[in-house]
């Protein structure tokens, strides 16, 4: 039952992409399939059981308290009644009560939940209060009392009693779900289109709650069968009507336990437990369907773990810290490489051994003090790349090829992919830190800001005193422009911009050499974005770290980067100095992208944009991934994956572009 609670927390996650195929996939999982088979088996038995029964379940015979035999498969009772027949008849009553109670209480749940959630206001307050009161009242004692007042109540009475106490939970979950659905855009869109409220509830809200209603229904069936068995066992139902509970009642009353007649009480309990398990398994399937994170929990974990351990180890253990030489401003001609990424490939492992490359054959270098901007649209692999560099990618993502080399300030090279867990922990944050996209999600909601900075310091500098650490935390906060008195604030008490500053303070905690920033300002408004970006650049000049800045906002990137890397479909399509890139983008995709941004200053220029939409990585186009959208594409583009061609620029530097128009051997007379 506790498992069911979590659904409430996750109810709002039932995403729009939940597809019909996901249903089938959920069904195909062995545990869910087992659950479905068990449930169907018992349902069939409940329907046809009485016709299968070899004896009248109440008929007494001479074979008293007989152990299981060919004549009586499950033995007999004290009065010689056939237990197998009682089980078959009992299945019907138990299932009838279970399903009946579930139908009635689910109906009540849906009614109350939908009304409360959709109507809102006073109606919601009242209905929620009633539901919450019923939720807190201990159900079984109340049920016992109600049952006791209905002496010898038949199945209908029991259904009534169970429903009264069983509807509240479902109502609460459905109310929360309705509330979240009501706020969803498609309900607002339906309203704006002019649809009737009743139609909206029926067509937009209800169908999207089917999974949760089903889960609540199955949960109530289990609960009702257990409750009915409990009541019957206590003799609070009609004890002459055969159900699994009444079998146990008679076994208990006749001291079957003391006489060692195990066959009398074992089958009924097992049947209840088995049916309960079956229903719960089906529910887990629904749970996984609703919450995709659960579904992915196991996939590729082992394979990915193996991939890491197989790599060779080539690093010294915890090398001494070397202080960094004084910050030297970056020049475009610098050759002081700090990070080299070579032919990196990251695959997403699918459920049936399939794999989708998200990052493919990516090579670039980062020099000391440089700001490297990585631009790309959704699905270009830029975020996957950020995580792979820091080795923070999670299964099912796995690095399947390539190398990442880090050069320490003293010149020693570190093979990042070869580090073991402990070495990796030392490497990360000490040498390289990362600032995540959404500060709201990346800060622990239950920990003070100060603590979240301090614990990184503590983990890497265990010898530092508490006083020094506290001083350092304050210093870091001031560095990023947060008032020192906010050190005891929780993330939710800060504004979006302040949270992102706190994230940067965490990133700076150990004065790293490289900071990877994954869309650090995407969720912020332009004015706040400007504040944050200026802060980052100011700190970079002061502290001399290198930055890998990832964003979809090419204009921003050109302003702040020294070098720009453009990604498309998991590959690098262009790599150039920022100013060269802005003046003369070489790849057709880069050109299209630059011509998609409206400008504020200067005369209005023509915006051309790019036709079509980004490629589907599961099923990428052959050859150059951009060719279906490319105005310059020719036949060879759909056959050959273009390598990066080195091109001269007007400033005398070089630009790399992966486009066949630069290959003199294949591009016949195409304009550049």
């Amino acid at each position: 039952m506790v498992a069911a609670i979590n659904m409430e927390a996750q109810a709002s996650e039932a995403g729009p992409r939940a597809s019909r195929r996901a249903w089938l996939r959920a069904l195909g999982r062995p545990l869910t399939a087992t659950g479905v088979i068990i449930t169907i088996f018992f349902a069939v038995v409940a329907i046809i059981g009485p016709w299968l029964a070899p004896y009248d379940p109440s008929a007494v015979s001479d074979a008293a308290t007989a152990a299981p035999s060919a004549a009586h498969w499950l033995g007999t009772t004290q009065n010689g009644q056939d237990i197998f027949s009682q089980m078959l008849y009992g299945a019907r009553v138990s299932m009838f009560v279970g399903v009946g109670a579930a139908v009635v209480s689910t109906f009540l749940s849906v009614l109350v939940g939908l009304l409360a959630g959709y109507l809102g206001g006073a109606a919601d307050e009242l209905l929620s209060l009633v539901a919450n009161v019923f939720l807190v009242l201990p159900a079984l004692p109340l049920t016992i009392i109600l049952a006791a007042y209905l002496p010898n109540s038949g199945s209908l009475g029991i259904i009534f009693v169970i429903s009264i106490t069983g509807w509240a939970w479902g109502a609460r979950v459905l109310r929360a779900q309705t509330l979240s659905l009501r706020r969803r855009d498609f309900v607002e869109a339906a309203r704006a289109t002019g649809d009737r409220t009743s139609l909206i509830i029926l067509r937009d809200i209800l169908p999207n709650q089917i999974a949760i209603i089903a889960a609540s229904f199955l949960g109530t069936v289990t609960g009702a069968i257990l409750t009915q068995a409990g009541l019957a066992f206590l003799g609070l139902t009609d004890v002459t009507q055969w159900s699994w509970g009444t079998i146990l009642y008679w076994a208990q009353v006749s001291s079957a336990l003391l006489t060692g007649a195990w066959w009398w009480f074992v089958p009924a309990g097992l049947a209840i437990a088995l049916l309960g398990t079956g229903l719960s398994l089906v529910n887990f399937g629904i749970d996984e369907f609703i919450n995709p994170r659960l579904r992915q929990a196991g996939i590729g974990t082992r394979k990915a773990a193996r991939g890491i351990t197989k790599r060779r180890r080539a690093t010294r253990r915890r090398p001494p810290r070397v202080s960094r030489p004084a910050a030297v401003p970056f020049t475009p001609d610098s050759t002081d490489v700090i990070l080299e990424v070579q032919n990196l490939k990251v695959d997403y492992l699918g459920e049936y051994g399939s794999s989708t490359p998200a990052v493919n054959d990516v090579t670039f270098t980062l020099r000391r003090g440089e700001v490297l901007g990585i631009a790309g649209e959704s699905g270009s692999g830029k975020s996957t790349l950020a995580y792979a560099i820091t080795r923070l990618h999670k299964p099912p993502a796995t690095i399947s090829a390539g190398q990442i080399l880090y050069t320490r300030p003293d010149g020693a090279k570190v093979d990042v992919l070869g580090l073991n867990e402990q070495e990796l922990r030392d490497f990360r944050w000490e040498e390289l830190s990362i600032v995540f996209q959404s500060a709201m999600n990346a800060l622990n909601p239950v920990l003070r800001i100060g603590e979240q900075i301090a614990d990184a310091i503590k983990a890497h500098r265990p010898q530092m005193t508490e006083v020094d650490r506290a001083k350092r935390v304050i210093e870091l906060l001031q560095l990023v422009g947060i008032q020192p008195d906010r050190v005891r604030a929780y993330p939710h008490e800060l504004s979006g911009g302040m949270r992102q500053r706190a994230m940067i303070a965490i990133g700076l905690a150990l004065d790293p050499e490289i900071i990877v920033m994954d869309e650090p300002t995407t969720a912020l408004d332009v004015v706040i974005q400007r504040q944050i970006v200026e802060k980052i650049m100011e700190l970079k000049d002061k502290l001399g770290f290198s930055v890998i800045f990832i964003t979809h906002d090419l204009s921003l990137l050109i302003e702040l980067s020294d070098t720009i890397v453009v990604m498309y479909g998991g590959r690098i399509v262009e790599r150039a100095a920022a100013q060269d890139f802005y003046r003369d983008p070489r790849h057709p995709y880069s050109r299209g992208l630059l011509a998609s941004f409206p400008t504020l200053s200067g005369p209005r220029r023509e915006l051309t944009g790019i036709p079509g939409s980004p490629p589907n990585l599961r099923n990428p186009p052959p050859g150059c991934a951009f060719h279906p959208r490319c105005p310059l594409a020719f036949a060879a583009c759909s056959e050959v994956v273009p390598p990066l061609y080195q091109l001269e620029t007007a400033t005398g530097r070089t630009t790399d572009a992966a486009c066949l128009i630069y290959d003199t051997s294949v591009s016949e007379g195409t304009s550049r």
Binding site: P138, L294, P445, A456, A459
Partner: protein, 324 residues
């Protein structure tokens, strides 16, 4: 603090609802339970007891409102009348002797099951994708077993076959109830099997709930950041993942607790444990309505207090609820 006050207010409303429900149920139930009950005693009841019985079912000259006020007066003075199952003992006396058994047993079992289940859930969530995943179907099966049936099997195995523990009761017949070692040790000895049953049957629910929340929480960005910061795994698991994953479990405490309490009551019956569950069973058998409703009230109040404690813990763990 404000949110806690609001919760406390809600529990007061719930308590009021429970007490009023208790007052109403006998008055709206079909048939004539009073007559039925009086007949059962075959004239052994004193005339005053008969009047009290009729009053209980609303058969009185007083107005419904006056009856309601009287009822509240009785609730506050702890006067629930005579018990018919334990005649001539009063309901309060019966409650007073049995409540401690249940309180101690259930409190201990709930705490142990919660800690154990949550702890195992944290582990199973953290080590997802390993053999620990097989805990899920196993615990699902165990938590689908009716408590009382599990109790029967436990008795069969450990008391009857292996004879490690006593079959039933709450303490050895030669011990005198009180704060003396022979009694306490014997009570502990007798409590092992019931406690084991309740813990084993309820631990699975906590485990699965916690595992699923852990899996969900572990893919949160803040956990990823904690790992990236190079924090020791223990801090990542407990301070970052588990502390956040636990919140839904705590807020769902109410429902789970009601479930555990219900299961424990039936378990007590199997072990003939001298607690409230067994008393409730006997009261239900004898149609002892005053005793039943008093027990219901008692359990409700206890559950409400436990919920309030869970809310305090929640407020302590989640700073977001601390302000209004």
């Amino acid at each position: 603090m404000k949110s806690l006050l609001r919760r406390a207010f809600f529990y007061l409303v719930t308590a009021w609802a429970a007490i009023s429900l208790n007052f109403l149920i006998p008055r709206i139930m079909p048939g004539d339970p009073a007559e039925h009950l009086i007949n059962q005693f075959h004239g052994r009841l004193s005339p005053s007891a008969v009047t009290a019985m009729r009053a209980l079912f609303g058969q009185s000259d007083k107005s419904l409102w006056q009856q309601y006020l009287d009822y509240w007066h009785n609730v506050f003075t702890g006067d629930f009348g005579l018990s018919y199952a334990y005649y001539p003992a009063t309901v309060s006396e019966v409650l007073r002797t049995s409540m401690w058994w249940t309180l101690v047993l259930i409190t201990l079992c709930t705490v142990i099951a919660f800690v154990l289940g949550t702890g195992l859930g944290v582990l199973a969530g953290w080590k997802r994708g390993t053999w620990l995943d097989s805990l899920v179907p196993v615990t699902t099966f165990v938590s689908s077993i009716p408590y009382f049936w599990f109790a029967i099997i436990v008795v069969l195995l450990f008391a009857m076959t292996l004879k490690w523990f006593p079959i039933s009761g709450g303490y050895s017949w030669d011990a005198t109830i009180g704060l003396n070692w022979p009694f306490i040790s014997s009570a502990l000895y007798y409590a092992v099997l019931p406690a084991f049953t309740i813990i084993a049957a309820s631990v699975g629910g906590w485990l699965i709930g916690m595992r699923n929340m852990m899996v969900t929480t572990l893919s949160e960005d803040y956990v990823r950041l904690a790992e990236a910061k190079g924090l020791p795994p223990r801090r990542v698991v407990f301070t970052y993942a588990a502390r956040n994953a636990m919140l839904p479990s705590l807020s769902g405490f109410a429902m789970s607790l009601g479930f555990v309490v219900g299961g424990s009551i039936v378990t007590e019956v199997v072990f003939n444990y001298p607690g409230i569950g067994t008393v409730l069973f006997k009261a239900a058998q004898a149609a002892d309505y005053p005793l039943m409703s008093a027990i219901f009230l008692f359990i409700t109040v206890m559950v409400l207090i436990a919920n309030l404690l869970a809310d305090v813990a929640y407020t302590f763990l989640d700073p977001r609820t601390r302000e209004a």
